[in-house]
Amino acid sequence: MSTAFDMTAGQVTIDGRKILRGVDLTVDDGEVVAVLGANGSGKSTLVRSLLGVQPLSGGTTLLYGRPPARFREWWRIGYVPQRLSVGGGVPATVREVVASGRIARQRRGRLTSAADRQAVAAALNEVGLSDRAGDPVSSLSGGQQQRVLIARALAGEPDAFVLDEPTAGVDAGSQKMLAETLSGLVDRGKTVVLVAHELGPLEPLISRAVVLNQGCKVHDGAPPTAVGAHALPGHDHVHPHEPEPAESGLPSWVLAQEKA
């Protein structure tokens, strides 16, 4: 078994502020890892630096055994960034955006192949947007645009998916659809790193959870099943009768586990 992502003592400093403070994270092939944590805890920064999109200021990170600068097999990676909309100042159709997910598999100057078209059609079908393929992305709702971003990653047929809050702004039905898509990927042995605020229907798929707090990894292991998403850090429920878990900087379900 090989290792998809391997970060050792990863540090990110932006404008003198430490955003990531020495994170170790290894993701083996076929694992489904959830990255959890409050807003601003560094989840996006962590996955962006796993991919080399955000340079590290200390430590190392490897993609399939190579540092990002010397990694060549980018078709093995499918990245869904955290976005509010698909963006761009010129109209682009859903199909055009999804097809751009094939870029790492296409040779410069070559025409689009039948395999490209098939993969794009399959990805559109998977997220239920085949009937909107010819529409401009800007005419879709926020949740539908999120599905376009997921389809773009699917179209590349990668080995490892890095999804940054794919469920943000997505309704219950679409979340279930995403859960089905993910479980299909998991069955085929794909690697998944998933940033989420609440796991919801994705919970049963997760093999491991990593919790960040202020740029530090505070938990790495079993996903939070029993206590559920409500105990996650950043979930701003006020429970006056309970001791404030934030004081220790640890989410309450981690404390509960450690006490047990």
Binding site: V53, T93, V97, S100, A104, D135, P136
Partner: protein, 276 residues
């Protein structure tokens, strides 16, 4: 007598077609990248280049290409470092380029700001056969580069982070689009002048956006509109005896107004159909 009987008009028409094709093609990527005013920034910097040509006694077009390319690379580097947003970086170059050009031309013996006029506002009818070869060569190079790198540039201009995570050479592509844009600006300078250059990169794209849904058709249609504006503007300026650069740009803007109306009408009837 028609315009085709005059050598200088034949040259001007060929140049107009070249400019009409290339400026909107490049412009589509720039607008996609949300840097619609990049052409203006480069145009202002190119003015310093033109003035340097006068000062050093070299061809202003050559110095303009070099200085504009350096300016575009500077914009790209400031933007890529992320400390200054793209539009602020552009604004800084606007002022620097214009002030630099005026100052250098003042320091050049025997020249005054009047020498800059044909570069500021365009003088397409002054294109001779040598100019035409240069313009045609540059235009072909620009279109060829866009054809080869178009797919990658689309991803870059759509979402730079995704481009990085797809293993694309983002720094190279960012510089490529900046340099392509500056070459285009200098080519289009002859037609409409540096102050109006950006109009040909942005207005046809904005026009075609009113009518299209995909990136590909937006680009193709903007090139059609670009040629219509340059050739139509040049021809009518000849018969009406008015400045060609301004006519070209006003025609492009008129086209935009018409497309805006048609686009509204089409969209309304489309939604009407789907609800009916």
């Amino acid at each position: 007598m028609t315009i085709f009987d005059l050598d200088f008009m034949r040259y001007a028409l060929v140049a107009a077609v070249m400019v009409g094709l290339t400026a909107p093609a490049v412009g589509t990527f720039i607008v996609q990248r949300r840097l619609a005013l990049l052409g203006d920034g480069i145009g202002h910097v190119a003015l310093t280049g033109v003035a340097l040509g006068f000062l050093t006694g070299t061809a202003p077009v050559a110095t303009a290409v070099v200085v504009a390319a350096l300016g575009a690379v500077a914009i790209e580097m400031v933007r890529a470092r992320g400390k200054t947003s793209g539009d602020v970086a552009l604004a800084l170059l606007f002022y620097g380029g214009l002030a630099g050009g005026v100052m250098i031309i003042y320091l050049t013996p025997g020249e005054s700001t009047a020498s800059l006029n044909s570069y500021l506002f365009g003088a397409i009818t002054s294109v001779d056969s040598t100019d035409l070869w240069v313009i045609a060569g540059l235009a072909v190079a620009v279109l060829a580069l866009l054809a080869v790198f178009g797919r990658e540039l689309f991803v870059l201009c759509q979402d730079e982070e995704v481009a990085k995570a797809s293993g694309l050479p983002v720094r190279f592509l960012g510089l490529l689009i900046a340099v392509i844009a500056s070459v285009t600006v200098v080519v289009a300078m002859r037609a409409v002048g540096l102050l109006l250059v950006s109009a040909l990169m942005v207005v046809p794209v904005a026009t075609s956006q009113q009518l299209t849904r995909s990136f590909r058709t937006t680009m193709a249609l903007s090139m059609v509109f670009g040629v219509l504006a340059t050739v139509g503007g040049l021809t009518s300026s000849f018969y009406l005896d008015v400045p060609s650069g301004a006519t070209i740009v006003l025609l492009a803007l008129a086209g935009f107004a018409v497309a805006l109306g048609i686009g509204r009408f089409v969209r309304r009837s489309r939604t009407g159909e789907s609800t009916a």
